[in-house]
C-alpha cells in the first residue's frame, strides 16, 4: 500500500551543532604541533557556519596533515600520496551539494602532487585547500621537502639542503585561473580562523598556505617569527582578511594590499625579507569547471544510456 510512508515523513527540526559534533578521533599529532591549531580553527568554522556533518567531506593525501579527516566527525577520504586534489575534484564533480575541504602538506602537494596541484587550481572547483606547510616531511621523520630552507640538515641531505626552497605562492599566482591565494600562520588563531572563513565563502578553489610549526624537526624555522612578530608582514585591505584589533596590534608590520592587484601580490610574495600573511589575490569571477561537471547529475540510468546511445549513433554509418 502506498501512502502510509507519506504520512510518516516529516522534516526534522533544525539542528544546532556544537564543537563536539565535529570532533572525531583523538588527534595523534605531537603535542605542540601547529596542526592542532588548524584543527580547532576548522572545527570552529564548521560550528559557526553550522555545516551539517553529513554534508561535509575532508579529503587528504599522505602525511601528518593528511590525518586530518580522522579527527573530524564528518565524511572523510584519506587518499593516496599526492592525490588529494584529484579525489576532491571528483567528489566535487559528483556531489556539488557537499562542502569540500582538502588537507594536504608541502611534501604531498608541492612534490609528488605537483601536477594535480596546478590543474586543480586551473579547474577552480569550489573547495577549501589547506596546505600544512611545515617545511619538512614530518610523518616519515625529517626528509627534505620542496619548501625546506637551503642548508637545512635532513635525513636526505645530512650535510644540508643544496637548493633554495620552492615558493608556492608565486607558483600559485602564476597559474592562470587561480582565484584565491592566501597565507596564514598557525600560531595566530584569530588570523587563521579569519583566513579559513574567507576561503570558505569564496566561490571557487581557495588555496590557503598555513605556515605550520613542527616542534620536532623545524621548530627553529618559525621561532624567529613567533618571538618577533615584526618579521611577519600583515596584508590589510577592506577586501582582504578582516581581523580584530588585537591581531593587528601584534603584527604591527603591515601593508595595505588590494587582493585584486596581482602584480603587487607577486611583488609581496617574491620579497623574502618578511613572512607575508593575509590575502594575496582573489577573483570571484574566475571560471569554474564544476559548473560544467554538474551537467547530467539528475539523469536516471536510462537517460544516461539513451544519451550514450545517441552519441554512439552519431558514428553509425
Amino acid at each position: 500500500m502506498y501512502g502510509l510512508k507519506n504520512d510518516w515523513l516529516y522534516e526534522p527540526s533544525p539542528r544546532a551543532f556544537v564543537l563536539e559534533d565535529y570532533s572525531g578521533a583523538v588527534p595523534r599529532w605531537c603535542p605542540g604541533c601547529g596542526d592542532h591549531a588548524v584543527l580547532t580553527a576548522v572545527q570552529k568554522l564548521c560550528r559557526d557556519e553550522q555545516l551539517k556533518p553529513e554534508e561535509t567531506v575532508f579529503v587528504s593525501g599522505i602525511g601528518c596533515s593528511s590525518r586530518f579527516p580522522h579527527y573530524m566527525k564528518t565524511y572523510g577520504f584519506h587518499g593516496l600520496h599526492g592525490r588529494a586534489l584529484p579525489i576532491a575534484c571528483g567528489v566535487r564533480s559528483r556531489r556539488p551539494d557537499l562542502n569540500v575541504f582538502v588537507s594536504t602538506g608541502d611534501g604531498d602537494c608541492f612534490s609528488i602532487g605537483t601536477a594535480h596541484w596546478i590543474h586543480a587550481l586551473r579547474y577552480n572547483m569550489k573547495m577549501v585547500v589547506m596546505i600544512f606547510d611545515n617545511n619538512i616531511y614530518g610523518l616519515t621523520k625529517k626528509q627534505t621537502s620542496p619548501t625546506t630552507a637551503k642548508g637545512k640538515h635532513s635525513n636526505t641531505h645530512p650535510k644540508g639542503t643544496f637548493l633554495s626552497p620552492l615558493n608556492p605562492i608565486t607558483v600559485t599566482l602564476g597559474v592562470g585561473n587561480a582565484s584565491f591565494v592566501a597565507q596564514t600562520v598557525d600560531w595566530s588563531p584569530p588570523h587563521l580562523y579569519a583566513t579559513l572563513k574567507k576561503a570558505f565563502h569564496h566561490p571557487g578553489l581557495s588555496f590557503v598556505r598555513i605556515m605550520q610549526r613542527c616542534p620536532h624537526f623545524t621548530a627553529e624555522v618559525f621561532k624567529p617569527f613567533i618571538e618577533d612578530p615584526t618579521q611577519v608582514l600583515l596584508m590589510t585591505h577592506e577586501n582582504g582578511i578582516q581581523v580584530e584589533g588585537a591581531v593587528s596590534r601584534v603584527f604591527s608590520n603591515q601593508i595595505v594590499h588590494d587582493p585584486s592587484d596581482l602584480n603587487q601580490a607577486h611583488n609581496i610574495a617574491t620579497n623574502l625579507d618578511h613572512l607575508p600573511i593575509g590575502l594575496f589575490y582573489q577573483n570571484t569571477e574566475a571560471e569554474r569547471y564544476d559548473q560544467y561537471t554538474i551537467n547530467g547529475l539528475g539523469f536516471s540510468d536510462d537517460q544516461k544510456l539513451a544519451g550514450l546511445q545517441s552519441e554512439l549513433n552519431r558514428f553509425s554509418i
Binding site: 500500500m1 502506498y2 502510509l4 533544525p14 603535542p31 601547529g34 592542532h36 595566530s188 588563531p189
Partner: protein, 780 residues
C-alpha cells in the same frame, strides 16, 4: 429570471438549510423550499456543466479503446501503438484517420482479434476502400506487406462494446490458466499411456506362451520377439511384479476415468462454466447464486474423481498401493482432499449478473465464504446516474474472504490486471465493473470516465491473501488524483484560471433525468451566501454553514454561471465523498491515525530541538558571564599590579594628589618589594632587574589569553587538572591550585603562542625556586 419577483438575495435571511432539519414533504426537497418560489418556475435558462470547458477533461474522454492486450505485457491503447508502427510508412500514416475508422468497424463485428488478423483485415479493407492510382496502389500494397511482415506488436486487440467485459474476462482466464491446464493434460496423457502399457504387459504375461504363438502364427513369430515387444511397449521396468485381480481392476477403473475425462475436455480450452439468470442450468432457480454453487459442486465432483484416478494410477504404477491403507483413504476422497494446486485446476464457475439480481439474492454471503473458485461478475451501468449506489463491492469486502475488484471500462489496464488477479485465486472472487448505458445519447467513453473522476466508480482491489488488515489488502491505485478528495479541473475562462473540484453533483448534472436538482442563477443574484460545493463540504465538517451550495455551469453565451443544487443532490454528493474518504483511510492513503502520530512525533522532535537550543543558549550565557567576570578580575589585578609597581617618584611627580588617593588601596594589596632606590631618581629603578631574581611579592593569579591559544595540547598534557579547554577548544586555567608554580612556568615556556601567564607563586609553593621565578618573569 428577470420576471421573478422574489430575488434569491432577499430570500437569504430566511434561508435555513441545516442537515438536521426535516424536509417539507409538500415541496419535495428542491431549492424552491428555501427560495420561496413555486416549483415550476425553476430552470428558465439553458446551461451545461462547466467541466465541458476544461481541455483536460475533454482529453480524458478519449479512453484506451480499442486496446491491445500484449502477449507478454500490459494492456495499452491500440491507436498510439498503431501510430508508432505507421510512422515508418508516410503513405499510410497520412490516412491513419481512415485506418482508425476501419479498425473500429472491424472490431464491431469481431469483438476481439489477434493483431495479425486485424492488420490483414485492415490491409484488405483499405485497398478496397482507398481510391488510388495504379502506382500508388502498388506502393501502398508494398507498405502493408512490410508492416505485416515486421509487425512490431503482438497480442489481442479488443474494441469497446457491450461484450467487452465478457471478452476481457475470457482473455484473462485463458492467459492465466491455459499453461497449467495444458501441463495437467500432459500429465493425464502420460498416466494413460503408462497404464495402457502396464495392462498390456499384464495381459501378455497372463497368457500361456504357446497360446500367444498360436495366436501370432508361426510365421509372425519369426519376425517378432515377444520379449522385445514387451520391452518396447513398457518403456520402463514394468511387469516384473505380477498383478493380482484387484490391482488390475483398480487400474482399469482409473484408466477408464482418465480416458473419459480426456474425451470430455480439451487441452487447448480451459473449461469455464457460465451461469446466468434465465439461462440453463439456472433458468428456473430461485437463487442464482445457490444454483451456481451447486453447479460448481457437480463439476468439482467430476474432476475430483479424475484426480482420485490419477493418484491411484500413480500409486499402482509405482507399486506403492497398499490396499489396507489406501482403500479406506480413497473411499473418503472428495474435493476437500485436493491440494491447493489441484484446486486451482477446478473449472471456474462464472456468474454473470446484474445489480438487482445480486442485491436480492440472500446467498451472497454463503458464496463469498464458500472457499470455492466461483467468480461473480456484476455489470453496473453508471448512466443514468441515479441517486443511490449500492456499493456491492464495498459491502462484499466486509466478508474479508473473497477477492474483490471494483473496476471500470474507463480503465482497461486496471480492469485487466484485476481480472488476472481473480484467476490466481483458489477462493471466490467478486468483480463489480462499471459499464456505460449503451442506449444513452451520452458518449459511452465519457460516461465511464466521468464516473471514475467523480468518485462515483472507485477503482479498487481487495486481495485477502496479502495480509490480515485492510491496509495490506486494499489497493486503490489507479484512481485519478488519489491523494485528493475530489479531482480538480481547470476552467480557462477567468484570469487566473479557475480550478474547480469535480464532485458527484458535477457528474450528475450530465443526466437529463436529474435536471430538477439544479437551478442556474443569473449573475446579478450571486452573493456571499452561496458557496461552491467542495468548500461547502469543508465548512460542513466544521459546523453548520449558513450557505447554499452551488456548482459551476456555463450558459448558452459561454459565460460562467452558478448552479444551485438541491439538498438531496448535496446529500448524494456527500455520500460519495464520504465513501471515498473511507476507502482512502482503509487503504492507508490518508490515515487519520498515522497523521496524528506523525504530528505528535513532529511536535516531540521540535520540542526536543527547542529544549536543546535553549540549553545551549543558557550554557553560552553562563560561560560568557564567567569569562567576563574572569577577564574583569584579571584586568583589575593587572591594573593594581601596575599601579603598585609603578615607581613612586613618577606617581608623585605626575600626580601628587593621587598619592593619598592610592593609599587606601595599599593595605589590601601586599606591599611591593622594598625598592632599593625608592628615594632615588628614575634611572635607578632598573636596578632590581639586574640583581639576583627576587620572588615578587603580591598575589597575582595565573591566567591565559585564551584567544591566542592554538590548542596544541602542550599544557593539557602537562597537567590536565590545572589546564582545560573552553567551549572554543582553547585553553584556560581550570584550577591553579591543581598544580605547582613550576608546572605553570613550564607550560608557559612550552606554549608556542606564549599566551600562558604564570602570575606569582603561592607562598607555600616549594617549587617556586628563584630559578623558576626568573623563568616566569618574561611571561608576567
Amino acid at each position: 429570471m428577470s420576471s421573478r419577483s422574489t430575488p434569491l438575495a432577499s430570500a437569504h435571511p430566511t434561508l435555513k438549510w441545516p442537515l438536521g432539519q426535516s424536509e417539507n414533504p409538500g415541496i419535495q426537497d428542491h431549492f424552491c423550499f428555501f427560495a420561496g418560489l413555486a416549483p415550476d418556475t425553476y430552470r428558465t435558462q439553458a446551461w451545461s456543466p462547466a467541466v465541458v470547458l476544461s481541455p483536460a477533461f475533454r482529453e480524458q474522454k478519449r479512453l484506451g479503446f480499442p486496446v491491445l492486450i500484449a502477449d507478454q505485457g500490459p494492456v495499452t491503447s491500440f491507436f498510439p501503438v498503431l501510430d508508432s508502427a505507421l510512422e515508418k510508412f508516410p503513405l499510410l500514416f497520412e490516412h491513419r484517420a481512415f485506418i482508425y475508422y476501419l479498425t473500429r468497424q472491424a472490431l464491431i463485428t469481431a469483438l476481439e482479434m489477434s493483431a495479425e488478423d486485424l492488420l490483414s483485415s485492415l490491409s484488405q479493407k483499405y485497398m478496397e476502400g482507398a481510391d488510388l492510382s495504379q502506382a500508388g496502389r502498388s506502393q501502398v500494397q508494398q507498405a502493408w506487406s512490410q508492416l505485416q511482415s515486421n509487425l512490431p506488436f503482438r497480442g489481442r486487440v479488443l474494441g469497446l462494446s457491450e461484450k467487452s467485459l465478457r471478452v476481457f474476462y475470457q482473455l484473462a482466464h485463458q492467459a492465466m490458466r491455459s499453461e497449467e491446464w495444458q501441463q495437467f493434460f500432459g500429465r493425464l496423457n502420460s498416466l494413460k499411456t503408462d497404464l495402457e502399457a502396464r495392462l498390456r504387459t499384464h495381459h501378455m504375461q497372463s497368457q500361456p506362451s504357446d497360446q500367444a504363438e498360436s495366436q501370432l502364427g508361426q510365421l509372425a513369430n519369426q519376425f517378432i520377439q515377444l520379449g522385445a515387444v514387451n520391452q518396447k511397449v513398457g518403456g520402463k521396468r514394468m511387469g516384473s511384479i505380477p498383478l493380482d485381480e484387484h490391482r488390475v481392476q483398480r487400474m482399469r477403473t482409473a484408466y477408464d476415468s482418465i480416458v473419459n475425462f480426456l474425451k470430455r475436455y480439451s487441452a487447448n480450452e480451459v473449461p469455464l462454466i457460465w451461469v446466468e439468470a434465465n439461462r440453463e442450468p439456472c433458468a428456473e432457480a430461485e437463487s442464482l447464486l445457490t444454483c451456481a454453487m451447486s453447479v460448481h459442486a457437480d463439476t468439482a465432483e467430476q474432476i475430483t474423481q479424475c484426480f482420485k484416478a490419477m493418484r491411484i494410477a500413480d500409486l499402482e504404477l509405482r507399486n506403492h498401493y497398499h490396499a489396507e491403507l489406501h482403500d479406506n483413504l480413497f473411499e473418503r476422497f472428495d474435493r476437500h482432499a485436493l491440494s491447493p494446486n489441484e484446486r486451482r485446476l477446478l473449472p471456474v464457475t462464472v456468474i454473470y449478473a446484474s445489480d438487482p439480481e445480486i442485491s436480492k439474492d440472500p446467498a451472497l454471503g454463503d458464496l463469498l465464504m464458500s472457499g470455492a473458485p466461483i467468480h461473480l461478475i456484476m455489470e453496473q451501468a453508471v448512466f443514468p446516474v441515479g441517486e443511490y449506489t449500492s456499493d456491492q463491492a464495498y459491502r462484499a469486502m466486509a466478508y474479508r474472504e473473497a477477492f474483490i475488484l471494483e473496476g471500470s471500462l474507463a480503465d482497461p489496464a486496471h480492469l485487466y490486471q484485476g481480472l488476472l488477479g481473480m484467476q490466481v485465486q483458489a477462493n471466490p472472487a467478486f468483480a463489480v465493473v462499471a459499464v456505460p448505458q449503451w442506449q444513452s445519447e451520452e458518449d459511452p467513453s465519457f460516461q465511464v470516465a466521468a464516473a471514475v473522476t467523480a468518485r462515483e466508480t472507485v477503482l479498487f482491489r481487495y486481495n485477502p491473501t496479502n495480509g490480515p488488515t485492510f491496509a495490506t489488502n486494499l489497493d486503490v491505485e489507479g484512481n485519478p488524483h488519489a491523494l485528493k478528495i475530489h479531482c480538480p479541473f481547470t476552467l480557462p475562462v477567468t484570469e487566473p484560471s479557475l480550478v474547480c473540484a469535480f464532485t458527484f453533483a458535477d457528474f450528475a448534472a450530465f443526466d437529463p433525468e436529474l435536471e430538477h436538482h439544479f437551478w442556474p442563477i443569473p449573475r446579478d443574484q450571486w452573493g456571499d451566501h452561496q458557496m461552491v460545493l467542495d468548500a461547502y463540504f469543508e465548512q460542513l465538517e466544521l459546523g453548520q454553514p449558513d450557505k447554499v451550495p452551488y456548482i459551476w455551469g456555463v450558459d448558452s453565451q459561454g459565460e460562467l454561471t452558478r448552479v444551485l443544487i438541491s439538498r438531496k443532490m448535496m446529500l448524494a454528493a456527500r455520500r460519495r465523498r464520504h465513501f471515498w474518504l473511507s476507502l482512502q483511510e482503509l487503504s492507508g492513503l490518508a490515515n487519520a491515525f498515522a497523521q496524528k502520530a506523525a504530528e505528535l512525533a513532529r511536535a516531540e522532535a521540535e520540542s526536543e530541538a527547542q529544549q536543546t537550543l535553549e540549553n545551549l543558549l543558557a550554557d553560552h550565557k553562563r560561560e560568557l558571564a564567567q569569562a567576563t567576570e574572569q577577564a574583569s578580575r584579571n584586568a583589575y589585578r593587572r591594573l593594581a599590579y601596575s599601579l603598585v609597581h609603578m615607581p613612586e617618584p613618577a606617581l608623585v611627580s605626575s600626580s601628587p594628589a593621587l598619592s593619598p588617593a592610592l593609599a587606601p588601596s595599599a593595605p589590601s594589596e601586599p606591599k611591593p618589594p622594598a625598592p632599593q632606590t625608592q628615594a632615588t631618581a628614575q634611572p635607578a629603578a632598573a636596578k632590581p632587574a639586574e640583581t639576583a631574581p627576587v620572588v615578587p611579592s603580591g598575589n597575582e593569579e595565573p591566567y591565559i589569553d585564551s584567544d591566542l591559544c592554538t590548542s596544541c595540547n602542550e599544557c593539557i598534557n602537562l597537567n590536565g587538572m590545572m589546564f582545560a579547554y573552553n567551549g572554543d577548544k582553547q585553553a584556560t586555567i581550570a584550577d591553579a591550585s591543581a598544580g605547582t608554580f613550576a608546572q605553570l612556568v613550564q607550560a608557559a615556556n612550552k606554549c608556542p603562542a606564549r599566551c600562558i601567564h604564570p602570575g606569582t607563586p603561592r607562598p607555600d609553593d616549594a617549587t617556586a625556586t628563584p630559578d623558576v621565578v626568573a623563568q616566569a618573569e618574561p611571561f608576567r
